[in-house]
């Protein structure tokens, strides 16, 4: 394929998805030479599909063709048609199109490569939708428990830690029940034993409807807001209220999407969307956000969609029945629906979940609800909060609303100071309080803001209110399993020997260090054009990057040649 040579594809797991796009975006400045009928017949289906699916993410002037019902008739007049539709729908873009012809299949012809080099390279517009980033805990999909809350050895990305996972499962049931307010749980354990993973597992099993607020202990220290205000905002973010609200939605069948992108690849995109019902048709102007979400949802002509006018949320209802015979290549899960009737814009009652904090912000008149978007909410008066609490309780009694207590997760909880701890003591007693989960990796240490030593750096009176879940270090077998899961997540293939070596590294240094080596070793492997990471690759990255122990060792040996070596601080100061 010449296309591979034409374009420096960026490496990694995205190659597969990228090549689809590149087939399209690679041929500016060309029009397809006349083709044989057989040729175009073969291509027709592929092309029509590509045009409609990939259209919104291409990086040039483009028009999604008003989708013809009689696709077959259009087969051997492809190029004519493109011109025709361009003239019909965007007269102003036509002159541009004459010198930048779209040639979706020109990579078939070998002469393309030569001409390609002449045309100026248009910078690739990368859309957010294609970048899937891998986080430290993105392999975790739940707690890995069965129906009887018995933990499976390996499940949903979780490995080992059976007792703590079981305990977390019990907590999870308590949260789902929603009756008990203000329970607090502490997950304590050495670094790298899966404390945050368990919290993430709880969050994942709760599903998107239950509020889960995560913050690190040091986040609440800000000059703009007092510590307690910040904590109470987090508390209220973790309580959801399900309530019915009327919103304006647009519901219709997509007739046409037209997106014009500046040829330079940067700058504002201009988009138009034509929707219809059985009775009417309307053209909408699209903002940038809308264009992005349309391409993310892969909306194409013939889809029946609803758009929430206020938030711009798009949901696809299915494909219109009139398009049922358009394509023969269609996913089995494609649903066919009737074209909507009547007016395009309707008022509908939708149930949605807002947090108590959002209601607070809306009702604190000093800022107005716009503050939600700017993020600058300031402090909220306690009177406002009391009013909201009363109102919410009233709604609940009237059956208008439902309270969903969620979870507040505070990582590195030893970073909180004495004032926060005493605030927590009080806040946990409120009946509108979420389940609080804290995590710490400290042993007996000084409570921040005091000179007292206490287990986990938490005052004894608060500890007394907590259920404590302990995590224990992973065994070798578990470490091996975790590394395997991470390899799958990071899309790196590991040979058996390399896997054992990496496991040993994980046991001797730390699990985190071993996980760090996966992608780096994968890169080294790819540089030598290998497909599977071998022991040599691991050795190489092991020699390139020091782990914590070797680094300390190195420091001790060469301390004298470092700067400021004569100043010695006895302990780290955290207050």
């Amino acid at each position: 394929m010449p296309r591979a040579a034409l374009k420096p594809l960026w490496s990694g797991s995205h190659i597969q998805s990228m090549s689809l796009y590149s087939a399209h975006s690679q041929a500016p400045g060309l029009r397809p030479p006349p083709r044989s009928l057989a040729h175009s017949l073969r291509d027709a289906h592929r092309r029509s599909e590509l045009v409609h699916v990939q259209q919104p993410v291409r990086d040039k002037q483009e028009t999604v063709v008003k989708n013809q019902v009689e696709k077959k008739r259009a087969v051997n007049t492809q190029s004519q048609q493109t011109e025709k539709t361009a003239r019909r729908f965007s007269p102003d873009t036509f002159p541009l199109r004459t010198n930048q012809k779209e040639a979706p299949h020109s990579h078939i012809f070998t002469s393309v490569a030569a001409e390609m080099a002449m045309t100026p390279k248009v910078p690739e517009v990368r859309d957010i939708m294609r970048i899937e980033r891998i986080g430290a805990h993105s392999h975790i999909r739940g707690l890995g428990l069965d129906d009887a809350l018995e933990p499976r050895q390996v499940s949903q990305g979780m490995v080992g830690q059976l007792a703590s996972r079981r305990a977390a499962g019990v907590i999870l049931e308590m949260i789902k029940d929603g009756h008990i307010a203000g329970r607090a749980v502490l997950i304590a354990g050495q670094p790298g034993t899966g404390k945050t993973a368990i919290a993430m597992g709880i969050a994942q099993s709760l599903g998107p409807d239950t509020p889960f607020t995560a913050l690190a202990g040091s986040e609440i220290f800000s000059l703009e807001m007092s510590k307690t205000e910040s904590l109470s905002q987090s508390f209220r973010k973790a309580i959801g209220v399900r309530i019915k609200e009327e919103t304006e939605i647009i519901e219709g069948e997509v007739v046409e999407i037209q997106i014009d992108r500046p040829a330079t690849g940067t700058g504002a995109k201009v988009g138009k969307l034509t929707l219809k019902t059985t009775e009417m048709e309307t053209i909408y102007d699209l903002g940038n956000k809308m264009i992005d979400s349309l391409s993310k949802e892969k909306v194409q002509a013939g889809d029946v969609i609803t758009i929430d006018k206020a938030t711009g949320k798009i949901s696809k209802l299915g494909r219109s029945f009139t398009r049922a015979r358009d394509y023969d290549a269609m996913g089995a899960q494609t649903q066919f629906v009737q074209c909507p009737e009547g007016e395009l814009q309707k008022r509908k009652e939708v149930v949605h979940t807002v947090s108590l904090h959002e209601i607070d912000v809306i009702n604190s008149r000093t800022q107005g609800f716009l503050a939600l978007f700017s993020g600058d909410t300031g402090e909220i008066k306690s009177e406002v909060r009391e009013q909201i609490n009363a109102k919410v309780c009233e709604w609940r009694e009237e059956g208008k609303a439902e309270i969903i207590p969620g979870v507040l997760f505070i990582d590195e909880v030893h970073m909180l100071d004495m004032e926060c701890f005493s605030f927590l003591n009080r806040a946990l007693e409120s009946d509108l309080s979420p389940v609080l989960i804290m995590a710490t990796n400290r042993g007996i240490t000084r409570i921040r803001g005091t000179n007292y030593q206490s287990p986990h750096g938490i005052p004894i009176d608060l500890l007394d209110r907590l259920l404590i879940i302990a995590t224990s270090p992973y065994t070798e077998k578990e470490t091996k399993q975790i590394l395997k899961i991470r390899c799958e997540e990071e899309d790196v293939e590991l040979s058996d020997e390399a896997h054992s070596v990496l496991t040993r590294i994980g046991m001797e240094t730390s699990l985190r260090y071993a996980i760090q080596l996966i992608t780096t070793a994968g890169l080294v492997c790819r540089k030598r054009k290998g497909t599977e990471v071998q022991v040599e690759d691991i050795k190489r990255v092991y020699s390139l990057f020091l782990d914590e122990a070797r680094s300390s060792q190195y420091m001790k040996e060469y301390q004298d040649s470092f700067l400021f070596n004569e100043t010695q601080t006895p302990t780290m100061d955290t207050s």
């Binding site: 609200e245 053209i283 007016e343």
Partner: protein, 202 residues
């Protein structure tokens, strides 16, 4: 709500009047938290604007909903707007005359025989339909709803000229008397000529 109860709630509402730019502007605050603003021409006493503002369920202040008059143009057309109608689309607005409710729909470049306008008594609304399936509108008459008056098919008429469809509905005599009384009341309100006066109802 019958004619009487609507009159009562109007009387019970807190009102602020202001005379500015040749218009008599009145702001009503009803007991349920709803706000209504009206603007009358000083010379002809015609209603130019009537708009409403409600509080949303969560307590946020909603935008003004225009019932009569030209919809307020957004101050700056930002590109961040999620989605909005293209300006080539039909524009629907209500502009009343003294004797009838009137709706004007601009940007409708189709011949008159395409349109059909009729009353749907069961849903208490008027429907505009096009045979070419380009435009469809179902709208109620809030004045009639507030006074709980029945619709009369013969009061409805429509014309089409200059790409504009004009639909008229003759005001029933209950509405006419109500409006006259209301105007008389409003004229009694002391209006300040100064725009900076405090609005007591807000």
């Amino acid at each position: 709500m019958s004619v009487q109860s609507w009159t009562q709630s109007l009387q019970a509402s807190r009102k602020t009047a202001l005379i500015q730019d040749g218009k008599r502007k009145i702001h009503f605050l009803f007991s349920d938290g709803k706000e209504m603003a009206e603007e009358y021409d000083l010379k002809t006493d015609e209603l130019i604007v009537r708009k409403w503002r409600n509080e949303s369920t969560l307590g946020a202040q909603g935008p003004w909903q225009v019932e009569v008059g030209e919809p307020a143009a957004s101050p700056v057309a930002s590109s961040d707007d999620v989605i909005k109608e293209n300006n080539s689309n039909p524009v629907f607005m209500r502009t009343d005359t003294k004797s009838s409710f009137q709706w004007r729909i601009r940007n409708l470049p189709y011949p008159k025989d395409v349109f059909s306008v009729f009353v749907e008594p069961s849903e208490k609304c008027i429907i505009i339909k096009t045979s070419n399936k380009k435009y469809y509108k179902k709208f109620s008459v809030p004045d009639m709803e507030r006074s709980e008056l029945p619709f009369d098919c013969s009061a409805l008429s429509f014309t089409h000229a200059n790409n504009t469809l004009i639909v008229s509905y003759k005001k029933p005599k209950e509405i006419l008397t109500l409006e006259q009384e209301l105007l008389k009341e409003l004229k009694k309100l002391k209006g300040t000529g100064d725009g900076n006066a405090d609005c007591k109802t807000q």
